[in-house]
Symmetry: C2
Subunit: 174 residues, 2 copies
DNA sequence: TAGATTTTGTTATGATATAACAAGTCAAAC
DNA sequence: GTTTGACTTGTTATATCATAACAAAATCTA
């Protein structure tokens, strides 16, 4: 494994960090989304745009029906296909990820860069940190190729205890 | 990444390989299950044992309700809790894995060895190959630790085209 | 603006999973 | 060998996640 690459950690993005203004993330994500959609001749309609915002406003992965409820509150249609269509669009555009082990959806922090969505999911506070790790990606491609397997998509979801909850747990014992 | 370990591929297990007798796998898996349960003071009851066999008899991951239908045919109770209880037991005992991206369950080929369930899932034929890859595991632990994250479980599900389906696709074009 | 394409509305249903509590089974302690 | 307690299973109901199918509306393009 190469370890000489610079910036291997540059893509970390912690949702709900107390040290960042989440509004900036949302604004940036929406701006990126607009740009990408225009570039690709895709229509970021009202419901799609608002769905994306709501996903970003949530600090943790949002379930489809949670999102649907929020959309319904705002006057959008409240039938399931509404939300699943929006989610399908956003997933296809790479603007969100689905966390398979939670059946929930999360804003993608770097939709404009080709990347894989790898996640660290805290069992305790349920916050999710997306990370990018080119070395893992490269190793997985090679491993798959050994089996004659051509990789198309990767679901990498790691669960455990985040640093905050680990400290909290340690404090509780002491 | 260490590359000097021998046998880094020794755990590959392809379900539904034409070149192996799947019955041997089932027998072996069941024998291992019996042993493990006895060792751990767990009861491999009729329904749990039969559920495990049925999962193994299926050549690809089996959905909970597919399994429930098979159990019902054999006179077991046909209500969902029956199958989910069996699945929960088998998962907790490490005898099966859940493939999150498919909502389906797969026999674990090496329940007696500590390992992580990593999967290659063919988009075309839907066969699943479980693989073990210590180097990835080690790298992920290290990566998580960098973020102060203590890893507990890993969901690694890779989708794409298996070698057979790749050949088939190439043949169709030619 | 006509026709084609895409998006949304609407109704219904399918698929996956759990809650809650009652009844039965088993094994160890008495 | 019966009681006791833990574990397992039965049963009913419901929660949660997702899609099919077709009609209506909006938007793009020629």
């Amino acid at each position: 494994m190469k370890t000489t690459e610079p910036h291997q950690s540059e893509h970390e993005h912690e949702h709900q960090s107390s040290s960042h203004n989440h509004n900036d993330c949302i604004d940036s994500a929406l701006a990126t989304a607009e740009t990408l959609c225009v570039q690709q001749g895709q229509r970021l309609t009202k419901v799609r745009r608002r769905a994306l915002e709501l996903i970003w406003e949530s600090h943790r992965p949002l379930g489809a029906y949670q999102l649907l409820a929020k959309l319904a509150e705002e006057g959008f249609n409240s039938a399931p296909p509404t939300v699943y269509r929006a989610l399908d669009f956003l997933l296809a555009a790479g603007l969100i990820h689905k966390v398979e082990s939670m059946n929930a959806y999360l804003g993608c922090a770097h939709a404009d860069k080709a990347h894989k969505g790898y996640f660290l999911i805290c069992d305790d506070c349920h916050n999710v940190m997306e990370f990018d790790y080119q070395d893992i990606h490269t190793a997985l491609i090679a491993k798959a190729a050994q089996q004659g397997f051509e990789l198309r998509a990767e679901t990498i979801e790691l669960t455990g205890l985040c640093s905050k909850c680990k400290s909290k747990a340690a404090g509780a014992i002491a």
